[in-house]
Amino acid sequence: MTTETHVHHPDYVKIWAILVALLIVSVLGSMSSIRPVVLAAAFGVALVKAFLVAKNFMHVNVEKRWVPYLLVVCILFIVILFAGVSPDIMKRSGLHWNNDAAQKAVESGAAPSTPKNE
């Protein structure tokens, strides 16, 4: 079965070079002590890289419209999951319950490491 060329092939090496440059930016930026810079370097760059890969390597924008919509809907479901679950998970105590171990860990500044022996 032959493949019909359904995409116009851009200069992939150029895209790759941009991606590598962005990687370097994100590593350098993460060494900064200014928090917004670190966040932008780490996650802002990640978003841009992901977008570049999706557009130029996966040709998502050339695909039938519903394909990126489907993928976005899947991401939206994860956002709903986050919205519904994080109010419980990101708390240390709630209605009639406390998570003492987590509370202690956050306060002491170290992750709890000794497993309770069963």
């Binding site: 709903i80 999951l81 679950v85 419980d88 709630g94 209605l95 003492d100 497993p115 069963e118």
Partner: protein, 558 residues
């Protein structure tokens, strides 16, 4: 215009165990699902005998200790949902019907199809193996909440717990593969002329169910990996003493668990839609509305999950939100039921066995749906949570889904599958025995639930409030009704297997239906159609004035 490749006559292994033909794979799933139903039914027998006749030795099993009770209850639930309802409703009917109803010669990916059954079979082997390991089968309930499910010291079935988890994970993989195959086939492999809204409802529903399953199971796969590591690698994802959170599992589980009930409900409603249009000789009332409603239900099903967790200590503001969304979701389903009733209204109804089952689905499911309202409202749920009221509610939804609609589908498509007719008299006896007994099992359980009977309790002897004779009478009545219902299944099995060889030979279209599967021979050969059909109209053209016949097949060019 067919391009049949001539195959040499396959040997027994090739034909029955290595086939890529969607119809054979459908039969594999169907018979496996039926066998698992016998096991699941036996397990129900065991625990209901313990509840109806406490602490007496159960014939065919022995004394039901508390540990064994937990395992039996866990396995009953798990088997019925994952290894009976899903395989028969989605994999068996989906595999059999989709290529036939869309006018194709097989699934788009037959070898992936075969692989999905093989993985499914491995999941069953793993699950059944768990009965024989040290400690026995997992006893932490099908919901597997940690820390009970994570710690062998608590659940007393550490090997069984891990095997159960692996079996469930394998089943998920099998259904992901199968479901994606169904979706791609329905999207791409339709006969020329079959537009989106010419697709029969049962195909739409099975595809929707596959998509909902796929979108909801991801977080649970992640959560199951975490639980597996908690069980085997001493991680503490759900261990509060290590900063973890059992509530996390509950959220991940129910994020899947609630859409899952629509994953099984939609195919059941699809089957019922096919049956009622044929036996009312009437077009589906509001086909597009039903479809849009089903989509909306699917989407809405992703935002109701925490109604299973109202008393688990979730943020009360979330409880408010989830109450509203849960009560909202009853609206589209009710609307679909109304549309089904509107389809029947004014129709020329023949009460054949499949039609009886389809009508019973509508009636019984409504009871299930209405009782769900009490549970969806967080206030009443505080009292009713974890009581037998919940059990009765979900059996009034699950039994119509997994049993009643399955019988509707089997009795309806049996002629196509096997080339023979089932015996109508036996069919009707089986129907009435099953449905009446079913109600006598669960109505008492609504009552004992409201009276305070807690779930997953092997004996109420220690609970003075529950140990009253009036309640015990209700439990015993329920048990006896189950014995009656199980006995009537023998009639079905006799009818099913006897008719395979001795039933009246079926013609291609004994029910005079419009959809494409009835244009193929009964049973269809490899490749399905001597000549692949072209489609000219929708799937429910019945009762058209001015035409000689009261039905107009989809592929009829006239």
């Amino acid at each position: 215009m067919s391009t049949q490749v001539h195959h040499a006559e396959p040997g027994i292994f090739q034909k029955y165990f290595w086939s890529t033909d969607h119809k054979m794979i459908a039969m594999q799933y169907m018979f496996t699902g039926m066998a698992m139903a016998l096991i699941g039914g036996f397990l129900a027998y065991v625990f209901r005998m313990q509840l109806g006749f406490p602490n007496k030795s159960v014939p065919g099993f022995g004394i039901v200790t508390p540990g064994k009770y937990n395992a039996v209850v866990t396995m009953h639930g798990s088997i019925m949902i994952f290894w009976v309802a899903m395989p028969i409703l989605i994999a068996a009917f989906g595999n059999f019907l989709i290529p036939l109803m869309i006018g194709a010669d097989d699934m788009a990916f037959p070898r992936i199809n075969r692989l999905s059954y093989q993985i499914f079979l491995v999941s069953i082997v793993v699950l059944l193996a768990s009965f024989f390991v040290k400690g026995g089968a997992f006893g932490g309930a099908w919901t597997a909440y940690p820390p009970l499910s994570a710690s062998g010291a608590y659940n007393l079935t550490p090997a069984g717990a891990t095997l159960w988890l692996v079996a469930v994970a394998l089943e998920f993989v099998a259904f992901l593969l199968g479901g994606i195959n169904f979706t791609v086939t329905t999207m791409n492999s339709r006969a020329p002329g079959m537009k989106m809204f010419d697709i029969p409802l049962v195909v739409w529903m099975i595809v929707l169910a596959s998509v909902i399953f796929m979108a909801s199971v991801g977080p649970l796969i992640a959560g199951a990996i975490m639980l597996l590591f908690d069980q085997t690698l001493s991680t503490g994802f759900y261990d509060p003493s290590r900063g973890g959170d059992p509530l996390l599992w509950e959220h991940l589980f129910w994020f899947f668990g609630h859409p899952e009930v629509y994953v099984v409900l939609l195919p059941a409603m699809g089957i019922v839609a096919e049956v009622i249009t044929v036996f009312a000789r009437k077009k589906m009332f509001g086909y597009k509305t039903i479809l849009y409603t089903a989509w909306a239900t699917g989407v809405l099903s992703f935002v109701v999950w925490a109604h299973h967790q109202f008393v688990a200590g979730i943020d009360p503001r979330m409880a408010n939100i989830f109450t509203v969304t849960t009560l909202l979701i009853s609206v589209p389903i009710t609307e679909m039921v109304f549309l089904y009733i509107a389809t029947l209204y004014g129709g020329s109804i023949s009460l054949t066995t499949p039609m009886l089952w389809a009508l019973a689905f509508v009636a019984e499911f409504m009871i299930g749906g209405v009782t769900g309202i009490f549970l969806g409202a967080s206030g009443t749920d505080i009292y009713l949570h974890d009581t037998y009221f919940v059990i009765a509610h979900f059996h009034y939804t699950f039994v119509p889904i997994a049993i009643i609609s399955v019988f509707a589908g089997i009795t309806f498509w049996y002629p196509k599958m096997f080339g023979r007719m089932l015996n109508e008299t036996l069919g009707k006896i089986h129907f009435w025995g099953t449905v009446i007994a079913f109600n006598v099992i669960f109505i008492p359980l609504f009552m004992t639930g409201v009276a305070g009977d807690q779930r997953r309790v092997y004996s109420y002897a220690q609970f003075a409030e529950q140990a009253r004779p009036e309640l015990q009478h209700l439990r015993t009545t329920s048990t006896i009704a189950l014995l009656v219902m199980l006995s009537f299944q023998v009639i079905f099995l006799i009818n099913f297997f006897w008719s395979l060889r001795n039933g009246k030979r079926a013609e291609a279209n004994p029910w005079r239906s419009t959809t494409l599967e009835w244009t193929a021979p009964s049973p269809p050969p490899h490749g399905n159609f001597a000549e692949l059909p072209t489609v000219y109209r929708g799937p429910y053209e019945y009762g058209l004035p001015g035409r000689a016949e009261d039905y107009w097949p989809q592929n009829d060019p006239s």
